[in-house]
Symmetry: C2
Subunit: 501 residues, 2 copies
């Protein structure tokens, strides 16, 4: 435990101690959260809820305590340390965001989002939007209050203030033109991509594999990508995720005997997240705000550069195909060309989480526009199903057959998370831009992938992204790593190379 | 999370809220402690140490805060509720014990016991007592300070104040005559027990079983004994234990393919502990002091009544033998008579944790006498190896060949735990006394065990022990359950029936 600093210690040192304690409570909660998904028997959920509420309640109390405010006013950092300067700035931001929301709003949000999320499960199962609409309306009105309060203290628009919760440093004004450009790309190219795909052979499905064999394969591939099992575990849960703490990472996946692809790609995806967490700056990670990852889009760039950019590349598949054949016996599905066809198939669908990398951004663009309109008060909850169907048709030319496959498919809004969706596609675009820079800096990156070797890729990401923590804002991180703020061209070039050339 | 009570709420209600929060932090720590033993990769240990220290530090701060003292002075409970009266008494006791120790002593104890425990691992591996003696001396002198401080506030002798940490309500003056009586019993009967055993056939060892099969068996037996897997898990760890919380219990064991007995008996033992935790009073458990188990001896009585009393009884073995034969195929080892010979073998050995139920108390008596002498200042650390060898010889007629198998075998003293050992044997004696009462109250208890049915035993223990929490002190719990305070006769009668008749 920390030795307590006396009241005469410099204010910034005392703040660091306070934030370290808050971060440690967060780490304890992260482990308990993993356990709840991966290990806990059902009967433990009530007590676990109490434990997590107590930990977050204590952390919140420590953050908003008047002493925190007084120390922040008194604190100064040596000008010479960019890390300390950024850390103090992030402390202030964190304190402001936590103190600006009235306690009864926080409580109402927590209660209403719990209730709405519970009701959503049933509404989705029964594809009954009308049943959930009143609860979503109530939640939306609280989220708008939250957005207004945050917007004042952050000097951002209400919607940008919500985006800031997930990826600070990038707002609707940055995302909108990028997404408009992507919409045009789809309009101009999706038919051609499909025609080219239709002209080739149909993919051969991968043969079924016993789950133990899949798990061993996932473990080997995760280690090859870079997961250090002295500091990590791989377990099972209903939804794959990356949890735990930087030195004790817990990734999960789910297995289906009939379809080994899902588990495999979930694991390399989560391993991308894991590498980011494990690679955060040692002196700050798990202790101080500046030691955290730079945001959700940055995080998604790391999972997608592994899953989409590297693990679905021709180079890597040329290694993986023979590796699978040697391990499980020859099968036509393991031909690298076939793996590419199976794992890079483009299809206009209704479901975001099932979408390929070409159509995925269309699902995000739809949600980005609808949630902006809801936060602005321009779209009523009652009109959401119609707007959804229309919007999806405009983007992809398909119409969901029901609301379960339409505006009820994602948990986000029903749990109060508005402003999250853009991070997914901004992450995909960031991944492409980072990969270009990594390739330019590392001559042998693809040659290494073609031997199943991730070290050059991992090394570049570790130095240019992971080890930077939250030293920079989002676009400054990209400027340092790639020479430019986020742009869409690298992603479009990647798609053209992969799906059109 | 708890709604915060206003400052004008009755003091006792505010205390309950405070203690509930402290208990919830303890629950979080219990889950993280289980994870550290059963799941955590080695690389997570440093961060886990930080998490656990932070949780216990916060809990301690809440307990010793001046507000706690002020509320305790102001609090009163309705006379009509024995539970509230007991709860308030236990709150006061807990506060007094936490506040009487100076902060620098607590810190020194924590540092010295960590250092001594680390050094002990090496000293035991090399059987080098001289290497650890100075660290143990330093630790002992701090423990004596602790005992003196506690003794003043508890109005107990220093050694009794240490015993009180593990089993409140029973001291050296209670244990000493019981142990003296047991020493006499051994002197009078151990030779006869061995002679009777030698006259019978030698036991046939159980055949090896694949570990998966052992695990499935352990799971089935634990469920049969009464473990509810909606509120529990069974996993693996280096040392078997029962952890977690009353609604989310985590028991562990270890497996050896060659010897299925160890895992099996560890699991039924830990299941006994688990039933106690799961059966604690619903309105108080995991939240208030009165909702906790009554102490370590009481806890051990529950594991031993399952493991030693029930699961090694003729009645249960008459069911288990055919059950094993049906499950794994006929084998001479599975004959109930042979199981009894294999699992009730008496042997004078050097190692406490390997001892049978007849010689086990001798190991405890030795430690009880030596630690009293050390706390009183009558035995110097340097003289411990000699006193140990002499003492064991006097009790069992054997002399350890080295200190690794002598005074270095147990972790307890080297981690600062003095006063713990008596609980083991007092628990065995308590188990026998409770079993007698359970048999008298429940006509079909053994008939049920002979069909593999633990419900009558479990039901009686649940009502008479588990559901009582800490409502009574140790001997009052026994008076209510059995009509008398702890005595040794039921245990001696049990041993006579099992090993001499």
């Amino acid at each position: 435990m920390d030795t307590h600093l006396s009241n005469t210690a410099p204010a910034y040192d005392r703040l660091k101690q306070r934030f370290a304690r808050i971060a440690t409570l967060g780490e304890a909660a992260a482990m308990l959260g993993w356990d709840a998904q991966a290990m806990m028997p059902d009967g433990g959920s009530e007590a676990r809820g109490e434990q997590l509420a107590t930990l977050s309640g204590l952390a919140h109390e420590m953050l908003v305590a008047p002493e925190t405010g007084a120390l922040l006013e008194a604190a100064s950092t040596p000008d010479s340390s960019a890390w300390d300067v950024a850390n103090l700035r992030l402390m202030k931001r964190s304190y402001l965001k936590a103190t600006v929301l009235p306690g009864d709003l926080v409580e109402a949000l927590s209660r209403q989002s719990n209730a709405c999320e519970m009701a959503w499960r049933q509404a989705r199962a029964e594809s009954d939007f009308a049943a959930i609409a009143p609860k979503l309306e109530g939640l939306l009105s609280l989220v708008r209050e939250q957005a207004t309060a945050l917007s004042e203290v952050l000097s951002l628009s209400p919607y940008d203030a919500l985006m800031d919760e997930f990826q600070p440093g990038i707002g609707a004004a940055d995302a909108a033109p990028i997404f408009a450009r992507y919409e045009a790309f789809l309009r101009d190219n999706l038919d051609a991509i499909e025609a080219r795909q239709a002209a080739g052979p149909a993919p051969v499905a991968l043969p079924a594999l016993p789950i133990d064999a899949q798990e061993a394969l996932c473990r080997d591939l995760a280690a090859r990508v870079g997961l250090d099992f002295d500091h990590a575990r791989l377990d099972r849960s209903i939804h794959p995720f990356c949890g735990g703490t930087p030195t004790d990472i817990r990734i999960t996946t789910r297995y289906s005997e009939a379809d080994p692809s899902n588990a495999l790609y979930a694991v390399v995806h989560e391993t991308g997240h894991a590498l980011y967490e494990a690679g955060l700056p040692k002196d700050w990670r798990g202790r101080q705000p500046v030691g955290q990852a730079c945001g959700m889009a940055a995080h998604e760039s790391q999972s997608l550069s592994i899953e989409m950019q590297a693990c679905r590349s021709d180079a890597f598949l040329s290694w993986l195909g023979p590796f699978l054949a040697e391990r499980f016996g020859d099968h036509p599905a393991y031909a690298p060309d076939n793996l590419a066809r199976a794992w890079r198939r483009v299809e206009r669908g209704f479901i975001r989480v099932d979408a390929d990398e070409v159509t995925y951004p269309a699902h995000v663009i739809l949600r980005f526009r609808l949630e902006q309109a809801m936060i602005a008060g321009d779209l009523k909850v009652a009109d959401l199903p119609g707007a959804w169907a229309e919007g999806l048709h405009a983007l992809l030319g398909v119409t969901p057959p029901d609301d379960a496959r339409g505006c009820l498919q994602d948990i986000h809004w029903y749990s109060g998370a508005f402003g999250y969706f853009p991070s997914y596609s901004l992450g995909a675009m960031t991944a492409a831009q980072l990969m270009d820079a990594a390739r330019a800096a590392t001559l042998d990156l693809d040659a290494a992938l073609a031997t199943g070797d991730f070290r050059p890729l991992r090394g570049w990401m570790a130095a240019n992204v992971h080890a930077q923590g939250s030293l920079y804002g989002f676009n400054d991180l990209l400027r340092h790593a790639t020479g430019a703020p986020l742009g869409i061209e690298p992603f479009l070039a990647h798609l053209r190379r992969r799906y059109l050339d």
